[in-house]
Amino acid sequence: MQIRVLAFATAADVIGKEPVEIDLEAGATVDSLGASLCQQFPALEPIWPRLAVAVDGEVVRGSRTLEADAEVALLPPVSGGSIVRDARP
C-alpha cells in the first residue's frame, strides 16, 4: 500500500519539503514506516526518536497500524517543547 509522508523543519531538511510516497505491506505500523524511511534516508535515523508522528492530523504511537492512503506527517519538536508529549511509547 502507498503511504504519503510529509516532513517539516529538520525532518524536511532530510527528506525534502515535497510529499514522499512510501510503499509498505498491508498492516505496517508507524514504527515500520520509520524503519523504511531511515533506510531510504539514513540522515533521518538520528532525528527519528525526537519526531512526533501524526496520521491524518492526529499524533499517534509507533504501534499504530497504517491504513492505505494515510497522510503521515513527521513533526519535530516545536519551540515550546515536543508536541509528542506522551504519544510515543
Binding site: 510529509l6 517539516f8 523543519a9 529538520t10 524536511a12 531538511d13 526518536p49 525526537r50 501524526a54 492530523g57 506527517a73 513533526l75 519535530p76 519538536p77 516545536v78 519551540s79 515550546g80 517543547g81 515536543s82 508536541i83 509528542v84 508529549r85 506522551d86 510515543r88 511509547p89
Partner: protein
C-alpha cells in the same frame, strides 16, 4: 450584548503582517471590561547571536485545528471569555509580530490568565516551527528537546 459577532480571525494563520486591531475587535464587546492583547515580536538576538531573519513554517491543517481547539477550550473554561489567536507564517522581519493573542473578558484576571495559557499552549501544541538566520549567514531550526517518554 454584542454576542455572536463571530469573526474569521479567532484562530488563523496568515502570510502577511498581522492585523492587531482586527484581532482585538474580534473579541472586544460591551460585556467585556478587560481586553488583553499580547504581541510576540521577532527579536534580533538569541543565545548571544545576532538574528537577522526568522521564518515560520507550519503543518497547516493540523496547526489550524489545534489553534481552534485552544480557543474553544479557553473560552469554555471561563464565563464570557473570548479569545483570538493569529500566527504569521513565512519570513517575519525583526520587530514585527509573529503572533497576536487577543483576549476579552468581563474582568481582567481571567483575561490575563487566558492570554498566558494561550501562548504557552501554542508553543507546546501547535505544529509551527521557526528557522533563525544569523548575521554570519548560518541558519538553524529552533527546537527544544523532546520530553522524556511518559
Amino acid at each position: 450584548m454584542t454576542e455572536g459577532h463571530a469573526s474569521p480571525v479567532r484562530a488563523s494563520l496568515t502570510e502577511g503582517p498581522i492585523d492587531t486591531a482586527a484581532a482585538t475587535d474580534a473579541v472586544a464587546g460591551a460585556t467585556c471590561g478587560a481586553v488583553v492583547v499580547f504581541l510576540g515580536n521577532v527579536r534580533n538576538h538569541h543565545g548571544g547571536r545576532t538574528v537577522t531573519e526568522l521564518a515560520y513554517s507550519a503543518y497547516r491543517p493540523m496547526a489550524q485545528a489545534r489553534l481552534e481547539q485552544i480557543v474553544t477550550e479557553l473560552e469554555g473554561a471561563a464565563t464570557g471569555l473570548r479569545v483570538a489567536i493569529v500566527h504569521r507564517l513565512g519570513v517575519v522581519p525583526i520587530g514585527e509580530a509573529s503572533v497576536v493573542i487577543a483576549v476579552a473578558s468581563p474582568h481582567r484576571q481571567a483575561a490575563y490568565e487566558a492570554s498566558r495559557t494561550a501562548l504557552e499552549r501554542l508553543k507546546r501544541e501547535v505544529p509551527i516551527w521557526k528557522r533563525e538566520t544569523y548575521d554570519d549567514g548560518s541558519a538553524t531550526w529552533r527546537e527544544e528537546e523532546a520530553l522524556a517518554p511518559a
